[in-house]
Symmetry: C4
Subunit: 264 residues, 4 copies
């Protein structure tokens, strides 16, 4: 029976109808929870029936708790966590199980522990993010993205380092150029970094911008050079993504005449 529970609570194998139904139920519940938590921050909607939000929250946590306990109980069916005690402990500290725990623990902490407003807010954020993160497990797209990031990690690291040095240099330069003309907006280098990030990513809110001739010359140069470099991660991720998806979907090509494989 433990084997059966394990199969149901874990991601569905193809053809396992009960497990698929369970997955769909949990995904829907998480999605509904995310919607409730988001919509619940809109005062006008929350005031219509705070009780409904509360009830839905309690039912959800109850279901997630049962699911979590079932997972912990049944995990020994997995050869990696076979030991009744240490296997379960190792399962509990695995990233996936920790995220599951984070999605329910804040509810009980608020219930049993006396907490201040700030903590409550923080716990809500944790709960919401943990629930959304749980959704990720069910979608292969996120696994693909994770594989791409892993495959391109050296390129991405290189680029991140180059960007960090670029960010440092541009922030220092604009700070020395604008500090006197706009002492409130370029008071120090960390503040100048806010300008650098918003400019180099081409967001350009317009809350901070250079006004001196030197600052504008610098900003123009930074914008042109920096954009080329800041677009690199997108390009690397993009090409990796396209490659990764092509690899998994393209069958090896067969020559229709001699029926041998063609490696490209």
């Amino acid at each position: 029976m433990k084997q059966r529970v394990y199969e149901i609570v874990e991601e569905a194998a193809p053809g396992n109808r009960a497990s698929q139904a369970f997955d769909i139920f949990i995904i829907s519940l998480i999605a509904l929870n995310a919607v409730a938590l988001i919509v619940g921050t809109v005062e006008e909607i929350h005031q219509v029936s705070p009780q409904a939000f509360r009830t839905f929250e309690i039912i959800s946590v109850a279901i997630f708790t049962v699911e979590y306990l079932l997972r912990v109980w049944a995990c020994t069916a997995d050869p990696r966590y076979a030991h009744p005690v240490f296997g379960r402990l190792r399962f509990i500290v695995s990233p996936i199980a920790l995220i599951d725990l984070l999605a329910i623990l804040p509810f009980y902490m608020v219930l049993f522990v006396n907490l201040h407003g700030l903590d409550l807010r923080f716990l809500r954020a944790v709960r919401l993010l943990a629930r959304v993160a749980r959704l990720g497990r069910y979608f292969s797209g996120l696994h693909t993205l994770a594989r791409v990031v892993h495959a391109k990690r050296s390129e991405l690291l290189t680029v991140i380092m180059v960007l960090s040095i670029l960010l440092l240099m541009t922030s220092s330069l604009i700070f020395f150029a604008e500090r006197e003309a706009q002492p409130d907006k370029f008071a120090n280098i960390p503040q100048a970094m806010w300008w650098s990030v918003i400019t180099l990513t081409t967001v350009g809110y317009g809350d901070v911008y250079p006004v001196t001739v030197a600052g504008r010359l610098l900003a123009g140069l930074i914008a042109i050079v920096g954009i080329g470099l800041f677009a690199l991660p997108a390009g690397i991720l993009g090409s990796g993504f396209v490659d990764e998806l092509r690899r998994s979907t393209d069958p090896p090509r067969i020559c229709p005449h001699c029926h041998k494989e063609i490696h490209e």
Copy 2:
């Protein structure tokens, strides 16, 4: 004769002069209609001669109505819609015929039904969009784009899902960081989503931006990471587009084993 009408009202086959002339006439009429509807929203221009706009509208709808009726009458020449009654019904509910209907129906609804101002405005939008959508049928470029989107649908779906989760997470985080400093701009998560979309797409209007240190750190991180991910759909579409267009122009490949041509 029905066969002849059918050939004329449908997209022109190469060499069919009458049908080509008809296509050019309809395309010009649609383009003129779009221009009239757009320019007609400029009060100064509309007031010069409201009658002229009205007359042009009536003539256009009359022509589009005749064209629509001819299409419905002649569609039985197409083997797919051969049945005199059910074939025509199936044609009427086909997407292309529905768009044609939407381009004329609002005119008659305003004429015969008593409607309020709001509906009139909505009907105008429908009419304008339907007419522009009709134009699409005549251009092969849109078919190419549709094919690319179809070929890359799994990649695009994956990316859209990743972006949705990213949007949810960044909106929640910035909401918890900024809600107290700017309660009017980050009053709830749906409002914070507006900021997220405008930042992640690098539009950056500047109507909403973080002011706290935590919010700015978060925004900087979100901008850098998010832009890499939000540029993915563009990259996927772009590479798909280039592939699609290359496929139709590239020479056939040669198998390196038997040296024969491989047609893809």
Copy 3:
């Protein structure tokens, strides 16, 4: 002697020292002219010595006029323009010679014809643009770009058409969504187009942005979808550019073992 003048005034063939020197002289003069015209618009600099700007202008135009006349006189050395009268006329109406003429004609028009202020301003712009355009002739990079645009013209046309239809649709939609909330900023569809272009290109000045819930939902959707499409021309141009430059610089690959060419 005409042959010699022709060789000197036309773009230098490799090894022709006199012609190269002449090219460098003309390029420098055009660059100096552009700088003078640009810097001359700064009131503080122009007032230092209006006479110096005037003198430099007169000398430049004199040299350009002599160069233009020499070109017209010597063009018969080119087999395409061999006929003494009709050849020269055909040369004069060729795009390159017309640009040359536009770079000097405005000066004489101001001198001999009585013109109003507006025309003067316009003529200055023409003169400046024509001179900068003349520079283009000497740089192979612009020829490369022109070849790329030509090679990718069908793709670019397709994309431009898709973008035009997208622009029309988004402008109409946002107009109907925002016209009541912001009648001054979304007064008509042409005004809404300004918003569309600035949003779809992700410039996002922040002078116009939606404030209604419907408008923001629409804008978010438009931003995400539209950016993917608006990045297409950049991607197409970019890949074409890389291909074009690779083609002209990469020698055909030779296998070092059997010394045959390898076509990729």
Copy 4:
């Protein structure tokens, strides 16, 4: 012993533990210095203990000075700088050694020379940038990027030239379109260039934007065309980066004629 010092102060060869430890120590010290210089510009943090910042600065400069002198003394172990006098002089004027000198010299200039406030600020910037630039030596990612920029230099030069001419033309056009409506923001062409750069890079702060119909038509056109061109450097760098990294990981190619390996 000089050989040993040389091995330690230069970049570590694999397996040389002492040299690796020295590298890590210097990297950490540079990073800490950069952090101290950045954080030191925040008045609130600097005022906590100006003495601590001062002491850390003195210790750092002392260590960098000793390191610099050791490098100069030991450089003769490198065959390129073998001559005791001229070799050392040639080493001192090499770019890397000059950057090292710039990272310490400003400190002594402030100490021994009587300088004004402006110079002090400038020297600080030099010191900070030189220290960050020193970091670059230790990271292979920057070497990769430098190789990519070098490999693509002709493409990048071409694009930079095209962009310069585009910038000139758009600035002139918008200047003539907007100068009368906004004489304070488009007073001259250099000012209009600020608008051009910020628009063409899609930063779009919103401090300057066209308000006339002609200006907006122009800006819309410029935004669409220009973005395609301004994205070119990013595309070229990106594809060069991907190529460069692929080259080091790809399997050797096989000649289709003789089936032997081809090493690139």
